[in-house]
Point group: D2
Chain length 134, copies 4
């Protein structure tokens, strides 16, 4: 299954004066989650960029259900829900001790580093897709 789980501890600098993790910091947590999900599948995002392929985010949406506080350890469950053509979709569920605190999804696009034009998903991603379909 093309899913994985990571843990991130909320840093002090990620809180705001409301006493919660600032809503804008989740985007970075999700970035970490998808990079680690790919790494677990044998794909290094760093190497992807070195090969000339970038993966910018095209759409991002998030629903905040409950706050995360300083020093909380959040678990992010990440699932690659679709890969087709130049597009890859990740879905995330964020928990604190089994309690769902947020859900999110991001759509990213494979683009060439040369001209930022969309390109087809590389083969190792396609095989990832095959595993999903199994």
């Amino acid at each position: 299954m093309a899913s994985s789980q990571i843990e991130i501890r909320i840093r002090y600098g990620e809180t705001d004066q409301m006493g919660f993790c600032y809503y804008g910091n989740y985007a970075q947590f999700l970035e970490v989650a998808r990079v680690e999900t790919l790494r677990e599948k044998g794909i290094s995002y760093k190497e992807l960029e070195e090969k000339g392929i970038l993966l910018p985010v095209r759409n991002f949406s998030i629903k905040y259900i409950a706050p995360a506080k300083y020093d909380d350890v959040i678990q992010i469950k990440t699932e690659i829900s679709d890969i087709k053509n130049s597009q890859i979709i990740f879905k995330y569920s964020i928990y604190i001790k089994q309690k769902l605190i947020a859900t999110a999804d991001t759509e990213l696009v494979f683009v060439s580093k040369e001209n930022f034009r969309p390109i087809k998903a590389p083969d190792d991603f396609k095989s990832l897709m095959d595993h999903i379909n199994e």
Copy 2:
């Protein structure tokens, strides 16, 4: 019309190694945009908090159309599209020199600082809504 426009210059620290403004930084830009929109309507978000009312974000979605680069000045057009019960919805269009680079919307909830329970939108917000309906 309950809309306004602000400008933000992309800081070096807001770029990433792709050479663009990192996708996660837009949440903060939108926060600035809605605070300034409210200020323009005579409402200080700071004073709102001092009165015991917080306004956390419940839903946030954004579509990235084109990148912003270092030193670019982005224009954010913000519109308060709805206020009802404890909820307020902002819609944003982000431009660089008239070119649309992103659209976003956020749903925020009025909550009591005491117990984080939803409360009705304060009167000055309601009158804002009346202006919208005019």
Copy 3:
């Protein structure tokens, strides 16, 4: 010995267009390093705040020797070098694979949450100091 070591992987959002970890992000890494150093000594910074004691930074200096890149794992060695009266000093050495890339130190002050006035270091910190002196 009141020292410890942690590892942090550089996030994509922490890079800048120079292709390196942005210089401004190290302050947050050092915060994580000192919190984990204290945790290892049995002190929870979160609980400290809950008891009404804050620990803001008064002085911070850092020397950047070599850059950290995306996906690099940095090791931060943290040492509590002095605790006296209301003051605590941390010293940090940051490495990537044994290579020193930065050194830093921070001076923090114990203050009361009530009035932000300096207060004496709590007893569990003092005993930490005793261990240092041993």
Copy 4:
């Protein structure tokens, strides 16, 4: 005189749960201050990079005297205190309504984008230095 002043309003996302602007955010404010100082002297940092010259920070130190809060407007007075060989030193004083809240200084190095080796300060910077010496 190679000095200038800018204003920055503290964003909500820049506060922490202590209710103050997080200490780690000042590095970014100083970056904005030095870029605007250079712009005022007719030098675009963006164009400098486009010409193949980078200006990474080698040393940074800051003394926090009083906190900045959400929505505060800080004034940063920036002075280029020295330029010699490949090095440039900026000194900063940060105020809120005439009250000094922090002082800082940064040493940056001119390096080639090609090999990150130090290079001599470009001529337009040297003439800046002449103005300082006048």
